[in-house]
């Protein structure tokens, strides 16, 4: 595969044309995986012997937490592409992804708090993972606000890219906080390449379907939102040209 061929999608027109075809496919796949995974997890999995029925919250909490971190890492990659190669589509893709990442972080924090109350006896603790997730959420808000605050698109892309680089520390910290500090309340990862550390198979398979659903949901939504950002940018350029001439 010729990796250089990927750069053709940095052309806004080519990006819009290609995503026109693939967007319905990703949307349908996302809906199918989410519906199957969530129904499977909610209706057809047993209670856990320790957590009771609250184990059903993992089908939302774990995929949302994974996405919260990985959306920021995707933004990091697209921001680096902007910094190095100055492709507008990559900067706009990062902008399009940020609200999705913020919502995923809120879902992870909210479901974690709702699960934590009956299990830990508290909605919130200043635990390393929880705290780093809260900071990640604040970074998402700052990133979105910075894009909105700066009128010039290129300046906004430059500054938000720098913010994204800084925030990446917290995205990684959110992922590895339970490994760095073990004094927190949060348990270890539910998913691991080491099969012994994973949740039991009966919970694991519907969880995998839910994760696939969240990933596909993100892809479909980020494509849709990037198309919108490309159009909005063109609109601003046309309006500026009209004002000048």
């Amino acid at each position: 595969m010729n990796l250089n061929a990927l750069w053709q999608y940095a052309n806004p027109k080519k990006f819009i044309q290609t995503t026109e075809k693939v967007l319905p496919l990703f949307s349908v796949l996302a809906v199918v995986c989410l519906v199957v995974g969530l129904i499977w997890g909610f209706f057809f999995t047993p209670e856990d012997y320790r957590q009771g029925s609250t184990v059903k919250i993992i089908y939302l909490h774990v995929p949302a937490a994974l996405m919260a971190i990985n959306v920021w890492l995707m933004m990091l990659v697209t921001s680096l592409i902007w910094i190095v190669r100055r492709h507008h589509v990559s900067a706009l893709a990062a902008r399009a992804a940020a609200p999705i990442g913020a919502v995923m972080t809120v879902i992870a924090l909210a479901t974690g708090a709702i699960w934590g109350q009956p299990m830990w006896g508290t909605w919130w603790a200043w635990d390393p993972r929880l705290t780093s997730f809260l900071i990640l959420f604040l970074f998402y808000l700052g990133y979105i606000a910075l894009w909105e605050a700066i009128e010039n698109d290129d300046t906004a892309a430059d500054l938000t890219s720098i913010l994204c680089l800084v925030g990446s520390v917290f995205a990684l910290l959110s992922r590895y906080a339970v490994n760095f500090w073990n004094q927190g309340l949060h348990q270890g990862a539910s998913l691991s390449l080491d099969k012994e550390e994973n949740v039991a198979d009966v919970f694991w398979y519907p969880l995998l379907v839910c994760i696939a659903g969240f990933v596909l949901f993100f892809i479909a939504l980020v494509l849709l939102r990037t198309r919108t950002e490309i159009r909005a940018r063109r609109m601003r350029a046309l309006l500026a040209r009209e004002r000048m001439g």
Binding site: G52, L60, I100, W115, F217, L224, A232, M235
Partner: protein, 52 residues
């Protein structure tokens, strides 16, 4: 059909309600803005073509 969620029913159901509501609002806002921007751009391009 509804599984017996026992004493944790409120926690489980509220988790699903909050998460699904947030996802639906996100999709709705994204679709609404997409349609609005596409329409505005079309109007501006049409105007620009008319003005030469």
């Amino acid at each position: 059909m509804m599984p017996d969620l026992g004493k944790y029913a409120e926690a489980v159901l509220s988790s699903y309600a909050v998460s699904l509501a947030l996802l639906i609002v996100l999709v709705w806002l994204s679709l609404r803005r997409s349609a609005k921007v596409a329409k505005q751009l079309e109007d501006i391009e049409q105007k620009a073509r008319k003005n030469g």
